[in-house]
Amino acid sequence: MSSSLRNQVGQLARRSILRTLRQPAQIVPAIVFPMFLLAVNAGGLKDATNLPGFPTDSYLTFILAVPFIQGALFSVMNSGTDLARDIETGFLNRLALTPLRGAALLSGLLAGAVVLGLVQAVVYLSVGLLAGAELAAGAGGALVLILLSVTITVAFGTIGLFAALRFGSGEAVQGLFPVFFVFLFLSAMTLPLDLLTTDWFHAIASVNPVTYLLEAIRSLLIEGWNIGQLALGFAIAAAIGAIGMTAASSALKTRLVRT
């Protein structure tokens, strides 16, 4: 990476982080809402552990994977609405009049998602462990879990950037939120994939990438070190990020029609 590109990424990352930290309204719901759902699910569905083949005695440990995905969904909204606001206010035009490169803009904007993802992951894990969840992979597993969570957050964030650049409105980006929640609900969110006995639901959950992201996180919490599931989780997150980034770069070219 050239020094000018590094400088541009650094400057925009700084702005993105400052913006995130100065908007408690972005941080608080992204932390509180998944924790609230964690409490409801852990309390209401704990008898699921009695099902034959359920991988753990602690439903809290099982369901703790979900907040990490829910938190990543908030990053779609945050990164997307921030960029959409830049488009709506003309700030993107201001940036376009500088020698800014598109790659720097997108990477810099994702820096806020990295910070939010990091804060979220640490809080979710800490709250989960304090409430009695297990972490089979130990301290090293905690670091990998946080890394995976941040990777997922950034990957989902690229979709927010794409939506913002494609549609240019914060409302359009926020409209994605329910769509992503459908993806979450149609995954192995509340039960392991093997125990989803309804055919259509099992079929959808089997091809839903969110299922494998959840399983990668769960492998660290429940099993310890399952390299295959971890690699699959990281690969899926990387693929989502790559697709999102490619789509966002293409949308940026159309949005920034500077000559």
Binding site: Q11, L12, T89, G90, F91, N93, L97, T98, V257, T259
Partner: protein
Amino acid sequence: MADSARGGIEVEGLVREFKNGPRAVDGIDLEVAQGEIYGFLGPNGAGKSTTVLMLTTLLPPTAGTARVGGYDVVTEGPQVRATIGAALQEAALDPLLTGREHMRLQTALHGLDKGERETRSRELLERVGLAYAADRKVGGYSGGMKRRLDLALALAHRPRILFLDEPTTGLDIQSRTALWEEVARLAAEDGVTVFLTTQYLEEADALAARVGIIDHGHLVAEGTPAELKAEIGRPTVEAVPLAEGDRERMTAVLGRFGEQAGSSPRGVAVRLEGGESQLAEVVRALDAEQIAIEHLQLHAPSLDDVFLAKTGRSLEGAGEEAEPETGETETVAAA
């Protein structure tokens, strides 16, 4: 290329057509010399902002050519952007960042080295009178403060050419005057070429060495404010009768001296065919008809008169159609 055009602007047959819309800019030719303040005057929707977007490389022209600072806006976009500074129609600022953080970001993105960034930021914030508020979030700035910061940001990399798109719209008189002074100083002392769009006649009159009047995408007049007014030549006399009932008779009397012009609701105004010397005759004629006058005023020709003469409409309130959204442009791939 003329020497002056190296620091100036040359436009020939510039056109911008929007999908399913009118030609927002329809074949404009103009030339702005280095160090000149050029006022681009017109109502909302006339094509001012579209022209600025094309000249600042943010919108590709449909046809025609434009060179800014000696560089072609279509084929030499990066060079044009390095040469220009722009404060576009809305002061596009981040409400969550402070003034100083804006300056830091702008100077860094323009490639100033670390030491120079701080110096330049401080210097510009002081110059626009915002040093005292530099560490406050922009969300708490007034409209005037935002406009001044916008100007400082446009000047971050010492541009030779400055585009100001309606820089004083919505500002109070004090803020407007302060901005005018700074723009005039930039042109006079630093030799910066200024392309200024405005809907305010007095702004163009006070600042611009030359004025171009645009209406429905066409440049309908161009020259110094004095030349344009001289072209119209005729002053306007406006009288208000003491008795409301005399208004019709007053209209008939004044009608003998020239064509009717825009007036206050209670008054009658005509453009004097014979110039200022007819004023005494007007007074005598009204006296002869025994029409008591509450108020009588002679107006020298204004740029609004020029606009009226060239377009058949008054500039005030002429802009009924909004300029097309640039988002509706034909998609053109970025270079």
